[in-house]
Assembly symmetry: D2
Homo-oligomer: 363 residues x 4
């Protein structure tokens, strides 16, 4: 069971390499009669697209998506939705030099150990190019999820974290970092400029938030909503850590400080804090769902690094291709998309459960 | 698709509530002719068993496991292995008082929102009682995984972290915290004694490590080894964060500091550091696999907390049952078990891939 | 991925051997708040139970089922339902003689080839004993399916087929064959008596019918309702053929004769015939769903048969254990149960689809 | 969980409608280093392609397949294989007349009941066009299966069955029916010519056979090899029945006549007959695997038929498009392909089991 599908009821399967002719995606399980057209997907692809500032790789990919099936007269039909994006700017010659070398921090060595063969051009299947399809699937998930708002932001670059008090969602769209803190964005601009010029790279932390999710989504005990979210985020290239709500900070808290108290507010149950990040027992509580993940620095850097090649020879590796000084930036739309697909899946799973239960009740 | 199964080729399914007659587990996909007997499983169950020190719940459960199928004359047959553990010390009367109340930080409210019905006795399906079955499945996974050593330790209690330089594996077995740092264990004994007497609780961080995993396990791109590990750990009760290798620390690093360099050592590829935690591109590299997770403090505390009941009335809740002042302690064997089951699954998945590829090679 | 689970949203997993201590089942995905108690399941188990006439094996198994989880105060909770049936009358000594021999027509040889080890007592995992759990899962599926009537009958024994014009459902309960044609039942009584005395056996054809299934269940294109039914029936021990509606007869028909015409009757769409057996394009049409399957004769017979043993020696095999002269009889309740579980699964799958679509419509 | 994927370890997912821009397929789980190029797939697509004789629909589709991923320098890489086939000859105007009508025997009514929306052009997702992708996936499965020969034949048209004694595999390629009996082929040519001219249609029975499958493939108890084959065949458009080995004939046999005896032949286990069709207990026995399935007559016929439209009006329907007088003909390559994909899946599943078991043995 190879791992190129994600989700259960809302499920997508992707294919394609960085420097092959195209990448593509089949989104299965989309309910019928959901309005859908190319711009609904292209909008989110454009946000992820590289080459939009000097802080992301200069590879120029229009990422024009084609809907091949599953939509008829502007609505989904319930049939699988086939999506295709042709690769345009492959520039394979950049990669010939490292064809037999294992770049430190990359998947080269692991792929060879696993498969005994590797499409070395631009990282092949291990390339972040694949994340475009996550964004496309996420765009469809957003259409399925009505009343849910999904947003993300980069909240830390290197060791420099934003001030949470300064968080403004409108600022996120106004700087190349998706940073919600204007002062931090200005600092990062300077810092990352220097890192880029030095041919180095830096890590980041992303936070994605879903508002409007009702209580009741998530399947105990192994498909908990937070378990599926952890898998979703950790499956994104370069991610090394995931946390929900208070996250690792929860380890330092007392039971009194950690448990969110409840009161009735306006006749509705309300929580007085959100240490839980909107999930208890693996099930959504109705509070905003808050997920953070850490992105390591790109390993494609100009400084020569010690490594070996596939013949067991020791080598020095320098990666000369076009790369991201802070790949965390482009992870923001990808994290949002993964949050959307997990929620769409659990929305449908809960719908099935409730439909069955409702029937029983009226017995 | 309800969520009570875990894994693909090595797959277990569990059932049972905290205060029902029994809990049980079906482990499917265990290869035939693996030596297996009750003590192989009981050994690990005994490590997780509550009531072994004053720092874990005083509920007395022998957790005697019965093998109902799948083993014949001391060996697995390839048929599913049914396991049963009878509940003994349910003491339901402790829970009547909170039958209609939503305990802050517990899953009570979320379960009611999801199912419209709840077995409130001892947390029902949401109880940590279910983790005994993870440990049982993990014990079988360890038998499948030859040459792999899986160990765990508690490395932080509250804000107090161990000294990594002081790490000694033999110390782990000599204190009630599975703590590898003798000095830290002594400090914790005092601290947790005070917390316990105050009827409060505290969080913790656990680290689990697998040594002996060859390069090549893990399935790009959505079933990456680290993605499956993140799901596995986050699915454990009370876990709020998961990280691999450098984890969240990776966000603060430069590309030079983060990427593990390679050299040939004794004719074999060797890494000069392990920031990656043994996984690159979602595939094991042959280095030790290092996973950490954060466990929140138990929400069952003696201090009255504000909440509501299922009738929408505001209430004060005090949990009087037997509970763990630091539930992270018991999470150590559970985390080890989840590491084992994920590895057993990916071992078999890689075996299938290699068998197919090998056939092709000789064509 | 071992094959001991069946279904997607309504999914059960079984374990247990013919002569082990117990057999059991986990039914996952049952919606909450469905009324359920032991008699709801025991009723159907009693129908399948062997030893009720001289025409089924004389093994005496009370098949008393215990519900271990997932039910609270008379209702399902949405948690997995654990079921346990202790084996009582194993009489293992019957089987020692054939421990190393491959009984012709049995799975002995194939199991050894696959697993390299075999629990030879009473057929082990290959025994029809496992079908009790299908019936138990089917009983729960019936509770989930409201308004659907599922019935079955044996319509052919050997070459002797019933008269369809003589079909009376009330007759089915009045003879040991579940035969709907009184005259046929009388003939079979005589015929099967002779076969039993001769230590021989005979095959049969079973028909199971579901009435009250609305149009719209089934998932194109690979999980068509009829495809899942074909798998369900063919997975029953000794089944060698499955057909829907006109089945193999459809091969002989012209397009005019085969396609069911439609008219409006009482303001509702109505079909004028049911060659399709209630399924078109893999989706239910609202007509009765009609499935037939062929059951081969038991291979456990008294006549010595040529075979080999596991050491490659040629042997003569006679099976002396207690067996069924026409195992098709006991396949009737099993076929009904498999029809029920497939329908319950597709009911929930369609509910998920409709819930998602409904949401979209109101956009 | 929508149903557009098939298989577990060897798994393909398809998309595309009859009259959309393209159809496509993702084949996941193909082991690495299997030699693969476009002609390996195109060869089998060409066999299925319509318009090659006057007995199949005159729609002209070149069915040129493009490999978009997963193959590098002539070998599979272990990454998912994306396949794309552009639709060329859609001729949508043929279908406008029946846009709102439910054609008797078609899936029109069922699709509308399920989805509430339907791509009516050429049957949309319900079209047999989708079977081209089964053939493509089957072509890759054949490359994975070394040493296995898979062949098929049409053995009955209407009520006219071939003489089994006259079976010659070389004849199969020499007539437009894939008929192995020369005399039958001549009869059918005349009969089907008349049926075609009359604008009518006729059903058929197909037999597919796999030789060279070793003993041991198939997963008891719910994923039996025959159960998966039954699902595979029944999922093909227009199939109404499936049987293995003696099939429905087994119902008429005595235990003595049905059970295949064994002897040692040339030092190897050998069966003296093959009533079982190569499968016992759901596991292959090493004998040829024999599967038959019944294909109903196309419902697209020139004779006006009574039906209704989506507005509840009674109508007469005549289907004027290009169609197959005996769609069973084109089902032969499709049945072969489905046999291949099921076998490739179970080959890999058994490989995983054996790899795990082998490891255990050497312990």
């Amino acid at each position: 069971m190879a791992g190129n599908s994600f989700g259960t009821l809302f499920r997508f399967t992707t294919f394609g390499e960085s420097h092959g002719p195209a990448i593509g995606c089949v989104v299965d399980g989309v309910p019928p009669r959901v309005p859908l057209a190319v711009p609904d997907i292209q909008h989110w692809l454009d946000r992820r697209r590289p080459g939009q500032s000097k802080f992301t790789t200069q590879r120029q990919e229009p990422d024009s998506v084609e809907i091949l099936s599953g939509v008829f007269e502007g609505q989904t039909t319930g049939a699988p939705i086939g999506l295709l994006i042709r690769n345009v700017d492959q520039r394979s010659k950049d990669y010939g030099a490292i064809k037999d070398q294992y770049r430190p921090g990359h998947a080269d060595y692991a792929y060879d150990a696993k498969y005994g063969i590797r499409d070395y051009r631009g990282g092949g299947r291990a390339s972040a190019r694949e994340t475009a399809l996550r964004v496309a699937a996420g765009a469809i998930a957003r259409k399925v999820l009505r009343g849910v708002t999904i947003r993300g932001a980069m909240i830390q670059m290197g060791a420099d974290r934003i001030e949470r008090a300064a968080w403004r969602w409108d600022v996120v769209e106004q700087n190349p970092f998706w940073c919600p803190d204007q002062a931090a964005a200005l600092r990062w601009e300077e810092q990352l400029g220097a890192i880029r010029k030095a041919g180095s790279s830096i890590g980041a932390v992303i936070e994605v938030v879903a508002e409007g999710v009702p209580a009741g989504w998530g399947e105990p005990v192994y498909d908990k909503l937070d378990a599926d979210l952890a898998k979703a985020m950790m499956s994104i290239n370069a991610v090394k850590g995931v946390e929900i709500g208070a996250g690792f900070e929860a380890a330092t808290l007392s039971g009194e400080a950690n448990a969110d108290e409840m009161r009735m507010v306006g006749g509705q149950p309300a929580f007085l804090s959100n240490q839980a990040g909107g999930i208890l027992g693996g099930i959504s509580t109705g509070q905003p769902i808050v997920v953070r993940f850490a992105v390591k620095p790109t390993s494609s850097i100009l400084t020569p690094r010690r490594s070996i090649d596939r013949f067991g020879q020791e080598v020095e590796v320098t990666t000369k291709g076009r790369h991201d000084p802070c790949v965390g930036i482009r992870a923001v739309p990808v994290g949002e998309a993964m949050l959307a697909v997990v929620l769409a899946d659990h929305y449908l799973r809960q719908a099935a459960l409730q439909a069955g239960a409702g029937a029983a009740l009226s017995e």
